[in-house]
């Protein structure tokens, strides 16, 4: 499980009383447990040491993790966070972005929000593909995830097995929602110079017409198989950026597709898609040496030369 030989895990922090005091390797379910790293409930005690970098994964909302992030930075730690709103926070959280950037610069460390989406497949990869374009008029990214082979919390998070009414109630309550599409829209629009004046977002259920059975649950015809989200970046009423995410059980054609209209027109596909759990962990870990070497401040994957962290590389 610990495949990057240059990394040493020196501590772990969690708010869950059921985990505090336990060995991290045991909680992570590693065969090589115990690791000799006890989970702590006291961030200061863990960070007041020889910590170079914190992998941070607690909430999707930047306001909720503001103090956690500032605490890491003030302890002199770089941060790679899965907080979706941190992936490109400048529009929604202008002041907080500036505060994080200033604090990081004062401390001489860097932080970034990333993951497979937002952070990679619907934004960074779009901009990377655009390297081969002379002109880009608009961009589209479509991601279809088959939730059948994912863990139960993900299947529940997308609403699989609910009635349409339950689904809409859960959306209204803010429970069902994949975070990060507006952040990806903003990153793509800025990177491509597509001057957008509005970002819209919709969340609808995917209703199945077939019976779908997964390892964990069953969905009857007419029930919700998952979520269908669309975010658009608009310029004077014209769509410039279109991002579509379908995550549902029983999806037959999973995959990621990027289309750039321009000169030349460019299409990129990842047949089967990038596995959300595996790829998010991969993106986070692969970003560790990159953020350690990055200029101090609040970075986004737009600024970073992403790549793979070889097992024997020194960060």
């Amino acid at each position: 499980m610990r495949t990057k030989h240059a990394l040493e895990i020196v501590g772990a922090i969690d708010a869950d009383p059921a985990k505090i005091g336990k060995d991290l390797g045991e909680v992570a379910g590693d065969e090589a447990a115990p690791w000799g790293v006890a989970i702590s409930g006291d961030p200061r005690a863990v960070l007041d040491g020889h910590v170079d970098l914190v992998v941070h994964s607690t909430s999707s909302y930047l306001e909720h993790v503001k103090e956690q992030l500032l605490g890491c930075l003030e302890a002199g730690c770089c941060v790679v966070s899965t907080c979706e709103e941190l992936a490109y926070p400048f529009q929604k959280h202008t002041e907080l972005s500036a505060e994080l950037d200033n604090t990081a610069k004062e401390e001489g460390v860097a932080l970034v929000g990333t993951g497979v989406n937002p952070g990679f497949v619907m934004d960074k990869l779009v901009l990377t593909l655009a390297t081969a374009a002379q002109r880009v008029d608009s961009a589209r990214a479509m991601r279809i995830v088959n939730a059948s082979h994912r863990r139960l919390p993900l299947q529940k998070k997308v609403g699989a097995g609910m009635t349409p009414e339950e689904f809409h109630a859960q959306v209204a309550a803010g429970v069902i929602k994949h975070h990060g599409l507006p952040e990806s829209v903003a990153m793509v629009a800025d990177g491509l110079g597509l001057a957008i004046d509005d970002i819209t977002e919709s969340i609808e259920p995917v209703i199945t017409s077939e019976h779908v059975k997964t390892e964990f649950l069953e969905v009857a015809p007419g029930q919700v198989a998952g979520v269908h989200q669309i975010a658009r970046g608009m310029s004077a009423g014209k769509e410039k950026v279109f991002l579509e995410l379908k995550m549902y059980v029983g999806a037959k054609d999973p995959g990621d597709t990027i289309e750039l209209e321009g000169e030349p027109r460019l299409v990129l596909t990842i047949p089967g898609g990038t596995h959300g759990d595996l790829a998010t962990a991969a993106v986070v870990v692969n970003t560790i040496p990159i953020i350690l070497a990055a200029p101090a401040g609040l970075r986004t994957t737009r600024d970073l030369a992403l790549g793979f962290f070889p097992p024997n590389a020194e960060p």
Copy 2:
């Protein structure tokens, strides 16, 4: 033609007496010509001015362009070059790489060799995709280019219309060869931490079984339609990196494909491929603001956060 409003073309240099003295816009065939920029045969006179960056495109061989590049750097100019051997020169030209790096650092400027291939689709894009991988065991990139719709020099360069004997003679004479595959192998191997001990390269003809006709030439069955090159990065006899380039007239399924074996397995395709002429120019121009902002020294696209150069952006 001049779509990046922040750029000003302040000079042009060529060794061809037929071009010297002419207007650059006229030689480039732009509708908006003349541009009021005369092509000069005297690099010093052009560079001894207010030049921030040189777009350099003269030869595939780094030894041939060494003095040109050093001249640009010593004049305080950043360089984006299409010299294929500059894309990742550390193995083949270790000393010259160090000299270029040192000179660039002394002058406080940066240089990079790039283009669609090497520089982007068979190396940078491979490493970018690997961001989503937890483990990479080996990498493959296959590029099939339909030369039918390309300019005549490209069709001739790949040997279209030759007999197999002529083709092999031209390969032996060093005339037929796409440059840059070994450089891409080295960049991919280094970026993925695949310790290779040998890079092999083969060049074979693609023999057509059908009659192929392009705007410029015809190829009869049994004749050469184009070139088929393979480069491999080997580790103790095992293939770790496989790059295959087929450029021929009449190619029916053009496209770029990347395959990473590992966890998870990842596949990426660009159906139709990235148009060599359009995309090379795009990659070069899009790299201008990136290399201007990069740390001084010899850079490669591996280190750079590539992306699009929006028309209204300031470099």
